[in-house]
């Protein structure tokens, strides 16, 4: 058999410590092993299976599911170059070629000395610093061949907005100082609501009109209420920081700049629904965020904000940090639960919904990072004040991540209804280098393209709905007249084909067929009938897929067919 190093003492110790907890420790154990050996050797996988009581075949299935785990030796340092739209439009394709050429390897092939491997990766949340690269655990922004090998400072996002609520502290305080956090109003909301009966707290959040900021936009208060009403314990509170919608980086900036806000939001949400334990699931590629939040959790625990009898309220709550391992689908709430439970990230059939049958089949509330920051804000200023921000149907401040061919890329906190045109031209300085706008991708890969003549759309729930669009995660990617749109569409097709979990047929097969057609289109080899094929594939995925990934996998591409048919080679070859 191939290279199979013996079980390291480090891993053995880790397994001895975590044996009792069983399968839910599978993904952490595998990530641990991956770090030690740069892959998962069979002997280690067997030891993990024996310790955590997981069938061996299942362990292999899990390894194969996650991009950051490998069953074969790879290389010491992975150079992961983002190829999703924001970075693709800023030359990441070229950078992949340059890096491979420099190292004398193909994509996915290790250098002979086993030092490096070059991989294409999905959105790293460095869209405003495109092209983005993850070198080992270090993030590199505005990456060039030189910067890949001599990484500099961790890239930070510019934050715009006046006044700032959600982003008021990020970048202004030491993110790991609870003192500075509290000087600027941190934990105020928590202190207020821990004195309230949970029902009143839920009413307050319901009354605030807050809707989820992860993409689906479900009313937060309603979600909490349906979980609080279930009389079954334990209950769980999960924070979804699997931010990976291409073009979105606001959650990363929040976690890195103001981690205690998220912890505060989690404690409040847990108190509201009666959850004693929380999980914070952070995507595997967000290595820096992981370090920050991990330290913040430790500090919060030490200073009495987590654990037993929080701030003398009698409420007990602890948070466990979990890392993803490279799977976009794990941002889907039920796939995220499966991942925490040590399984492949397959989304579950709904109903039942998480509020009654969530993590470990127990009642669970799962909220996005920005949603939880809003929760802390509502509790601090009250729902009446909060409602004055935003619009009637879209309450509260909202974060937009703007990237691409734009003068001032960054995170924009918007507190008054604004059109897409004003956001791009008034706030973000317009298209770079005085170029003409070609299209805007609103809502990420799962969103839609907006044509230059549609920019008057109001960026509210109602406004976007009327225009047949969706705010999604608030990602705004701007493309100028020079964009190779066929390349961007090809990239989107590749993205979904790579990230489909493979569970239901429409998405498993449809994302592949879609990618094949877009690949032909890029190469100028489109076949007669390709548009109809694509339309059938998209209709099938949208109408019949099991989860949100499949249901939106054709959304952006379908919108491009509508607004810019010239992006598609439609010259019909004569049948003669």
């Amino acid at each position: 058999m191939f290279n199979d190093p013996p079980v390291s003492s480090q891993l053995q110790e880790y397994l001895d410590q975590n044996r009792e907890r069983g399968r839910e420790m599978l993904l952490p154990a595998l990530l641990h092993t991956q770090k030690i050996h740069d892959f998962i050797p069979p002997a280690s996988a067997s030891a993990i299976g024996a310790a955590l009581n997981v069938p061996l075949a299942d362990i292999f299935g899990v390894i194969e599911f996650y991009s950051m785990l490998s069953s074969q030796p790879r290389a010491e340092t992975s150079i992961r170059i983002c190829t999703t739209p924001s970075c693709a439009s800023q030359g990441s394709g070229e950078l992949v070629l340059q890096t491979c050429q420099h190292l004398g390897v193909d994509i996915g092939e290790a250098t002979r000395d086993g030092q490096y491997i070059v991989e294409e990766v999905e959105c790293l949340g460095l869209c405003d610093h495109a092209p983005g690269v993850l070198v080992g655990d270090e993030m590199v922004g505005e990456a060039t061949l030189e910067k890949i090998f001599i990484p500099g400072d961790h890239p930070r996002s510019q934050i715009y907005g006046d006044p700032l609520y959600l982003m008021a502290r990020a970048g202004e305080i030491d993110p790991l100082s609870t003192e500075q956090f509290q000087e600027k109003g941190g934990f105020e909301g928590l202190k207020k609501v821990l004195r309230l009966p949970p029902e009143e707290l839920i009413d307050m959040v319901t009354n605030s009109g807050l809707t989820g900021r992860g993409g689906a936009g479900f009313p937060t208060g309603l979600k909490w209420k349906s979980c609080a009403e279930v009389d079954r314990f334990p209950k769980y509170l999960v924070c979804n920081e699997d931010e990976s919608e291409p073009g979105t980086f606001k959650d990363r900036a929040l976690i890195e700049g103001d981690p205690f806000t998220i912890i505060e939001g989690m404690i409040i949400a847990a108190y509201a629904v009666g959850a004693g334990k929380g999980y914070l699931y952070i995507r595997g590629e967000y290595t820096h965020s992981h370090q920050v939040i991990s330290q913040a959790l430790e500090i919060a625990g030490r200073e009495g904000f987590l654990g037993k009898d929080i701030l003398g309220s009698g409420f007990d709550f602890e948070i466990e940090l979990r890392s993803g391992a490279g799977a976009y689908i794990c941002g889907e709430e039920t796939a995220l639960f499966e991942s925490i439970e040590g399984k492949r990230g397959f989304p579950r059939v709904k109903p039942p919904f998480p509020t009654t049958h969530g993590l470990f089949n127990q009642p669970t509330v799962i909220n996005n990072v920005e949603t939880l920051a809003n929760v802390a804000l509502i509790c601090k200023i009250g729902s009446e004040e909060y409602k004055k921000l935003g619009s009637e149907d879209s309450a509260g401040p909202r974060l937009f991540s703007i990237s691409g061919d734009i003068n001032l890329p960054g995170i924009y906190e918007i507190t008054q209804p604004i059109t897409l045109k004003d956001l791009i031209y008034e706030k973000a300085g317009g298209v770079r280098h005085g170029k003409e706008l070609r299209a805007v991708l609103l809502g990420g890969a799962a969103g839609k393209f907006v044509a230059p003549d549609q920019l008057d759309v109001l960026l509210t729930t109602q406004g976007t709905r009327e225009a047949g669009l969706s705010l999604g995660s608030g990602a705004v990617v701007v493309f100028d007249e020079d964009v190779d749109m066929k390349f961007v569409l090809h990239g989107l097709g590749h993205f979904f084909a790579h990230e489909s979990c493979g569970k239901c047929y429409p998405c498993q097969l449809g994302t592949q067929r879609q990618a094949e057609i877009l690949d032909r289109n890029l190469r100028g080899q489109a076949l007669p009938g390709d548009i109809e094929r694509l339309e059938d594939v998209i209709a099938t995925m949208t109408d019949s897929s099991l989860c949100g990934l499949g249901q939106t996998a054709g959304s952006a591409i379908g919108s491009a067919i509508k607004i810019c048919p010239e992006y598609f080679e439609i010259e019909e070859v004569s049948h003669g």
């Binding site: 069979p42 996988a45 069938p55 061996l56 075949a57 299942d58 362990i59 292999f60 299935g61 194969e64 599911f65 069953s71 799977a327 492949r344 059939v349 084909a497 790579h498 990230e499 489909s500 979990c501 493979g502 569970k503 239901c504 047929y505 429409p506 998405c507 498993q508 097969l509 449809g510 994302t511 592949q512 067929r513 094949e516 032909r520 076949l527 094929r533 059938d536 594939v537 209709a539 099938t540 949208t542 109408d543 019949s544 897929s545 099991l546 249901q551």
Partner: protein, 236 residues
């Protein structure tokens, strides 16, 4: 839960009364309406994978997989609407482009029913793999595998509790595998045969049947088996 509660709904214009908890698929069957299915098997857990059984429920935004959707009071259901037919035909066309369905009579019949163009997706990536013939009991021909998960489910909690099989890869590259892809005799397989029994195509096939189909006679197969046993004894 009151077992005797019944639900009234309309399927393809016909009124129907079924016990609470009945799926739309079962309700339709009670009216002799034949909804096609691919992944569904009575002995394995329904995961709603193939979506071939989707139906249109009035007022719902998306099509509903009838095998796992419980009937609700007053529902109006269409089992062969234009949207439904488009989905079924496209799924079959996409599946046929990836997988060798030629030996599955049931799928061939569905393809005929929905007027599938067998060459709808030219240049499509096929899930090809050479036949795995690594044990005396069954062969694995994954170029015929439609990923219905039944073998994995039968090997695990639905029947045998043996856990020899798993799903590897992701998306279109998903495939059935073992621990580090080891040959079946090195896996935890106990050769119960349940996986072969539930396989809807010939992806898993009894070795004897496979050899007979290849044109071998029973006496030739017996001779081959004897030889294999002798070889094994000699090498061990």
């Amino acid at each position: 839960m009151a077992k005797d509660k019944t639900i009234q709904l309309t399927i393809d214009g016909k009124e129907c009364r079924v016990p609470e908890g009945t799926t739309l698929l079962e309700a339709a069957r009670s009216l002799d309406i034949n909804i096609p299915v691919i992944c569904l098997h009575e002995a394995t857990t329904s995961e709603g994978l193939c979506r071939q059984c989707v139906v249109e429920v009035e007022g719902w935004g998306r099509l509903a997989p009838s095998c796992i959707t419980p009937a609700e009071e007053g529902q109006v259901v269409l089992t062969e609407s234009e949207r439904v037919i488009r989905t079924r035909r496209t799924i079959l066309e996409m599946l046929n482009a990836s997988v060798d369905l030629s030996q599955s009579a049931a799928l061939q019949a569905q393809m005929e029913r929905y007027e599938v163009d067998p060459n709808r997706f030219p240049g499509a990536k096929k899930r090809e793999r050479e036949i795995l013939d690594d044990n005396p009991f069954y062969i694995r021909d994954y170029s015929q595998c439609i990923l219905c998960w039944r073998c994995v489910q039968a090997c695990a909690d639905d029947m045998q509790y043996t856990y020899a099989l798993a799903i590897g890869g992701r998306g279109h590259d998903s495939h059935i595998t073992t621990f580090f892809d080891v040959p079946i005799p090195e896996s935890t397989c106990v050769f119960c045969g349940n996986c072969v029994g539930v396989c809807p195509t010939n992806a898993l096939q009894g070795k004897t049947e496979y050899l007979l189909e290849k044109g071998l006679q029973h006496n030739e197969i017996r001779a081959r088996r004897r030889q294999e046993r002798q070889d094994k004894r000699r090498s061990s």
